[in-house]
Symmetry: C2
Subunit: 206 residues, 2 copies
DNA sequence: CCCGCCTGTAACTATTAAGTTACGCAACTC
DNA sequence: GAGTTGCGTAACTTAATAGTTACAGGCGGG
């Protein structure tokens, strides 16, 4: 990280925050640098001063949002609880995180649609999810004491966990329309979260 | 539909097909009309002649891809089979459809990221999925004869079915990276499909 | 046979895009 | 207090962009 004055750092953060919102809403190609600076009121020159290019600004936006998930994952690990507890807690954690962080969801999807090329350019290891280690452990324990089916693969289980939550954000509008149900409605989402939890819990039970 | 000569219709289709590929790969804003015409070798004027605007061309691309799913859904309905058979057949149908139609997936995700605004502009009812009707029926039957848990909501079940398949496409690159697993590998995907099928089958079983 | 419509080309316009240059101001350092 | 360094503005350049206009060959119906 380069050194900036306090004031400069503030400006930098304002640009970054605005950029995150716009990139999330309109995509990388759909957002112009002019729009970002018009929104912040900061001069365009400063974008290049602090970030170097539109692409680097985008990458920093991506990294910033992704860091939120990693922080969350680290603080929700309870490896000593029984597998049922762990699974339902992961579900509700992801569910509310994704709903509360639409910018994250949008940037993540966008990056996948871009075949992960920005993640390749940055180093971005995407920390081989501590969530996975947790699942491996509790699934193994569960299998030993006979509460979990033998052929559960923790990796596919984790993907299912995420997929069951993500779909409510990633396909919200098409699903709402096709199934005539409002996936923006808090009460519906509460029921959905419970349904996901339940189906997965029964899904892994021996 | 307007009347075009056979030759004209062919040109139209060439433009549309090229546009689908480019819009899917680079997004609406990321694709220029010039790029489409350069790729096809057809003159730009023709895009406006046959489609009216870039946006209308995009909407037609979206509708064309979506029609593929609707066609598939209509041909895979077997309401008289037991619920287990139906669920695992829906899973493998969606799984292979999504993998075989990456353009569809990209356009669908893009449209959701755009809050479904294009679907609003077109009529596009997204036919209240015959899949849902099927599920409602077989779940009810299953609940009557005691093979399916009472509090399974077919709508959330369908969303879970889709979500479990979609996640392998929508988040392929970030998941591959985070879990150190290649979600482009056919064998991995075969196992994934089986894992999804199994977890959901056990998930609904009474 | 010729009028009109469908198909097509090439060159154009007006706007917007990313990125740069020239310049000024304030604060801190030597 | 002269020079350096970071913060900031406005005006600029160069390339692309969506959409248009002028124009023309070919073919079917009157």
């Amino acid at each position: 990280m380069k050194k900036f004055t306090e004031k400069g750092e503030l400006t930098r953060q304002r640009i970054l925050k605005t950029a995150i919102g716009l990139f999330a809403k309109k995509g990388f190609a759909g957002t112009s640098v002019d729009e970002i600076v018009d929104t912040t009121g900061i001069n365009k020159r400063m974008v290049y001063h602090y970030f170097g290019s539109k692409e680097l600004l985008y990458q920093e936006a991506l990294a910033t949002e992704y860091a939120k998930l990693e922080a969350l994952e680290l603080e929700t690990l309870h490896p000593d609880e029984p597998v049922e507890k762990v699974v339902s807690s992961i579900v509700s954690t992801y569910f509310s995180f994704l709903l509360d962080n639409p910018d994250f969801v949008m940037l993540l999807l966008q990056e996948n649609m871009n075949r992960g090329l920005n993640l390749d350019k940055m180093e971005m290891p995407l920390s081989k999810s501590p969530m996975l280690e947790l699942l491996i452990q509790v699934v193994k324990t569960g299998q030993k004491n006979g509460t979990v089916r033998k052929n559960i693969d923790p990796r596919f289980l984790l993907i299912s966990l995420i997929g069951n939550c993500m779909i409510y954000c990633s396909n919200r509008f098409t699903l709402s329309r096709a199934l005539a149900i409002d996936l923006g409605d808090k009460q519906v989402l509460k029921k959905a979260c419970d349904a996901v939890s339940e189906i997965l819990l029964h899904g892994i039970k021996a």
